[in-house]
Symmetry: D2
Subunit: 459 residues, 4 copies
């Protein structure tokens, strides 16, 4: 049977990740024959789109394959008859992230950009846009799959399923990939010698591992974690978990669990960065600027080594593997955000979870993980409900619910400062939060302004 060639559309195509995505597609071209690639961005991202687009085309030109990379600011033109739509856009660009981080830190509070106060605002900015994209897809490419790696990936996927009523979506994260690269190495075995079972939420999952004989080797990995490097993503401060806690659960938490299990240390470190080298977003902005300088080089036609420093590496590779596995019904094991369907029985069957799944032509077939023990279940149920509040507030613009999400979020101590940070973030992101316009106007009338000077002066 001749393989049907594939049209890929990447929204947020001007992202610095795009070269990794291209590399992933080139690597898989024999199995996944690509007809055309469309990189879509918005006016504000036009320059970056052109730089990275040219670079992307050079990469294909250097490959044995004849693939055209189209660049456009017209999303609807690109979406027409797409087979796969990947989303990696960042509403408000890195400056928005910097505000997400700096405003909380200016009040001595974690500004975590995926599940903390910052992440809540990233969701508020992103969800209305992703729902627009879904609306366009229903019209222009109703058979396409949406492969999202815009953060907060779990909440964005939840919104697509719950409010967009679109089930052909898979949310991705590079964190599980990282664990599955490091841990086999720690044990001196290959990935294919291990069986991984992940369960939880995006940036909030646990996993257990067994070997080919069915023996649970989680405890062995935990043991190695206290001798070795622990496979923490580049964007997470590297402080070891409390060993007794991991031994008790006999599960491996993800790096982002540090924001909860080691809140004290993460907060201290974040404040140091805030007062010193700048928040992670500020550092990334610098890295990105350097990357784009590299990308401008008309001789560069491969993914430069420096991209791995960026954090978020492997995201794009996970995306290519997911697309291939759907396309070729490969049933590859990938950890994805998808509708629960009972796989994590401590959460409702209709919500989105992040879980080990076999990826088939019909999408994710999640593996039933079974109930978690109370300690993990408590965290999990808390976080999912927090996510549900965020998604609903993102859609409705309900200020009270946004406040509830803030207070419920374990990174944010309840009280007047929580409300103040919420209010400042609303003001700071005014341009990207039409759903909260009325409340923002009221806050402005009451004289609320952004305290942190850096954040206040970003565009």
């Amino acid at each position: 049977m001749e393989k049907k060639p594939v049209k890929i559309v990447t929204i947020g195509g001007g992202s610095s990740y795009t070269p990794e995505l291209m590399e992933g597609f080139i690597k898989r071209y024999e199995e996944l024959p690509i007809r055309e690639i469309w990189l879509v961005d918005i006016e504000a991202g036009k320059e970056k789109l052109e730089i990275v687009g040219a670079m992307a085309q050079r990469m294909w030109d250097a490959s044995p394959y004849d693939v055209k990379v189209h660049l456009t600011l017209d999303r609807r033109q690109a979406l027409k008859d797409a087979d796969f739509v990947t989303t990696q856009f960042r509403v408000g660009l890195l400056n928005a992230r910097i505000k997400d981080e700096r405003i909380p830190f200016s009040y001595g509070m974690l500004g975590q950009e995926t599940n903390g106060a910052g992440g809540i605002f990233k969701a508020f900015r992103t969800i209305p846009i992703i729902l627009d994209i879904v609306k366009d897809m229903k019209e222009l490419c109703p058979n396409a799959w949406l492969v999202n790696f815009t953060n907060p990936s779990g909440m964005v996927t939840e919104a697509v399923v719950r409010y967009g009523k679109w089930d052909k979506v898979i949310g991705l994260c590079n964190v599980p990939v990282g664990a599955m690269m490091k841990e086999p190495e720690m044990l001196g075995v290959k990935l294919e010698d291990l069986t991984y079972q992940f369960a939880g939420l995006n940036h909030f999952h646990w996993h257990k591992v067994s070997d080919k004989n069915g023996n649970d080797v989680t405890a062995q990995i935990i043991d190695k974690m206290y001798s070795n490097d622990s496979g923490i993503p580049a964007n997470i401060h590297d402080v070891p978990f409390i060993r007794e806690q991991l031994e008790q659960m006999n599960l491996i938490p993800c790096g982002y669990h540090r924001y909860y299990y080691l809140q004290e240390e993460m907060l201290k470190h974040g404040i140091e960065e805030f007062n010193g080298v700048g928040t992670r977003g500020q550092q990334v902005k610098q890295t990105e600027a350097e990357l784009f300088e590299l990308y401008k080089d008309p001789n560069l036609n491969y993914k430069p080594e420096q991209l791995t420093k960026r954090g978020g590496t492997h995201y794009s590779d996970a995306a290519c593997e997911t697309i291939l596995s759907i396309y070729a019904d490969k049933k590859a094991h990938i950890v994805v955000s998808t509708k629960n369907n009972g796989a994590v029985p401590d959460l409702p069957a209709d919500c989105v979870v992040e879980v080990s799944a076999y990826i088939s032509g019909k999408g994710a077939l999640p593996i039933a993980f079974g109930p978690l023990e109370p300690a993990q279940r408590g965290w999990l149920q808390l976080m999912k409900n927090m996510e549900l509040c965020v998604c609903e507030a993102a859609v409705t613009g309900d200020y009270g619910l946004a406040l509830q999400a803030f207070i419920l979020n374990p990174q944010i101590p309840g009280g007047a400062t929580a409300k103040r940070v919420l209010d400042e973030l609303l003001i700071a992101h005014k341009k990207h939060l039409p759903q909260f316009a009325e409340k923002i106007a009221e806050l402005e009338k009451n004289g609320v302004t952004v305290k942190d000077e850096v954040a206040a002066n970003l565009d």
Copy 2:
């Protein structure tokens, strides 16, 4: 890495299925190196054990592999250091099955031997024995896997998990195998071109199918079922489901659903057989006698064609594939009875379901199927609760609960006859039901006897 050779123990080794099992192992020997095979049976089955054991050894001798088939009546000797224990014993032999069938039919009631009145009694006889086997395994081969294909396979597996507290068990059934052989053929494709998702209980599951592009092709198969032969197991009377029902559910029920969805027709047919050629058990008894005649032939060293007529064919092949998939961590897709863990969210996470799973070194990784629609959910929840009553009554000997299971069972109309059939079955199976001894004595004192002459006169 050198492969560790495997010790297989088959309890009920004198079964007519054993040659199929041997064939399955021989076929897989390169991947699954067998060290020794032990066929275990009881005194009453000694002659059959010797016949089939000799035949089994001939099959291996005709193969390129040097494997010794040990025959024993000493279960504990056999279990020592086993790697896999398969169970295919039949407490009370085929005569017990004939009673299971004839006593209900003598009152004009379905005597279905796996989930109906007969099946309940098969569970009552089997569960205490399987729990004994588990007890032995804990002592003699604590690392072994139990692969059960004694019916009622689902309830037996449930009892092993719930009352035996033994999780290293997989329950098997040949019904899904049959569907996965017939249906691709109906569509003119290969099995590997389709994705199957089964969910439900043993002999009470539904499935849906999609193609490599992710399109649901269930409706196409349903369509074909009304032109073609429908892949019904040899032991189920072949009457077509009501088309509107299948179209409404857009799922394919299993053949045994006929006892519920087409109860009227199945009852009519069963009564005709009861009054005519004899119940299915009586027919099988004849087939078995013929098979054992064949097996006696010292020149026969391959599985004879006639075995497929027996019903239950593929069971043994499923067992070999399951064992291989555990041994080699193959992650093969097999439909198995295993702990739910949320895969079928309409049932408790801790009960046993029959579901599509990937079979790994650590056993079944069940695929989360998601909630069923009310019509299927109603049946499913009814049947699981019926199973739970049966398992508990099998362990406790609680007569009231046995009666409740009978009345709850949709094959058995509530009322005085239900109780009468229950009482006669207790009397008829007295020898194999020590847990109900007190009640049976009381019934005997009250003069209860078996009405059906055939059943009454079987040993």
Copy 3:
């Protein structure tokens, strides 16, 4: 505080039950001051409305209270500003019930008119009308309470909540009242000396009873049931439950459980009546004719003794008590159909159950009963899912789903006859089933007609 006088509207006001309702209101007038009563009926019921309406007015005139009974065929006029709307209408009158019963019985199948094949069709006829009434209420009396005692009361209430999105509804049934009258008498105590806890569905509930010291006396009542009369409603054939079953569950089933627990006996009895004195509906028709003759007597100004023979007695009294308890926030213990909210945790929190509740100004406060044992849970989950199929089919006119409900219903053996009975009932009730019009036309085109001559010749 002066009590606000109340406007009562009774839809189906021409029912023979109306005098009991009047008696109930008169008895409670000091606590529940009634301003006006509107009896509403349709053109076909006009004569009965006038007879019973005149009788109702005579009852009030003979009381010390000055209450006007308005008679109308204009439902909307009546509903304007109502405080309580009671519904006791019967779409298609008793002739429809007779078809509901006779068509199944003509095929040797139970024609139970509330939860069996007949009840399913009563739901199909009633649910569209009740949803119309709810629509009118939203417009004309948005603060009113709907107190339904049209059967099948549970499914009708479910439809009001689920599809009508109307929570101010209480469904009533006289069966619990009967138990709570008989059983204290059996024990030689007063009702107030006992604590009753009911849980389940309409015509499908169980209860347990304890005394003032907290001792469970359920077993004592069961014991008495085998010496005494068992408090079976007049419309249920009086055959004792199997004692061992009740002792095992240590719960008291409702009379309608006979259609399941004693299906054999109920079917036999029903067929005898079908072939002899006529089905229950035919008997009731006779009783009703006699009642209306009595009601015509211009001197009769009290509820005649004969009404109690009717079956369904106490329904109206339960309605008056419910209305009073809402009006006066009495927190009386009444068994009602209401949204579950967890009271019966084996069913979803958002479905309607029948359960012990304290009735307050804001409606039912259901008592959490806790999980049922598997035997009861199996029945309960089956029946609720059957109800959900019926409600959805009643709203959508989905024939396949109607068929599924039939086959799922334990009173109806699956198979060709089930489908035939379904088809004949559709034909027979054509006039009242606009939602199924297309399918009915198809059936008629295919020559389906009603086999039973009596049913075929009813208007």
Copy 4:
């Protein structure tokens, strides 16, 4: 019927609350005829027992009733044939509470003594003792009811049900009583004019209120809370909730929710007290000393006014009312900790919740509250799982689980300090934590000592 006179046993009888308890019994004597009262305490509490015991006897002597108050250190003697056992003991006395508070605060962390770090340790000390009491009750007074008001009342009740396997228990709390006293007053109505529905956990519940007409008046009360005093228990710092949050939920949280919703403010206030007047426990110790001075007065024969300052007032009155309601099957509405049974469907049916219930001769009949919205559900599920970890760790002495409970507790930021505080509390309470003996020895070996000087120097 003659009323059966009642034997009351109060464990922790030397508590300063005892006079309130006596007052409650005297007030209810006509309905609840008391035969004898036994006040039990331990050697360390002997002096207080004698003072308060003499005072208790004086109160009865001043009443018209002839009741003897027995004082004993022999719990088993007292328990013999008891009808009601109330528990109000405090393992380690107030000094233990002071450690519970001061050690966390010495690290800048909330030391909340019921649900925070302190409360966890109170559970660790109390649960083994209450399980001993239950063991004695099974032997000496198997028909008695246990009415617990030792804090953390919810976790203690959970342990009694889950690990003690004793269902005849009711956990009490004075917080709901306070709300039901203040709020009607705010609205200018009487308590009986309102319907209260509470749901959640001990010191972690929400409630809604409706009037006699069924109108929800929760919003009105919230409105009043921002003009009036808000009915906060004396032991909680009085800072108003964020109005938008309460309006969004349309529920009234309990005072203890401040430790979560207003964590910032509560922490600041707690640290001020820690550094200034002393923690709440230190203040209470002073109040208690004063109370005992008063109690010594041989002329005092009534509950002195000063007791209300103590915090925890109404606890005893709630206990008397609960006992009366069980004794007389009164079905009074009381908010209690009891087995969920579905009343709070967001939590498992078998765990303990705090919920509105009608109290009958058979204990609590909880009202089904229905599902909570995500924001509340997230908190609730988190806290219940935290409680389950605490209860299990209290029984098993599992250090890892204690650490997990600490990190899961929202009052305790995860990290090294959490572990340090845990370790110091273990050391400080060594005498009362035999289940953790091994770990404590290890900590001591490693030189862990208590940093806070006050705590370190308490006995």
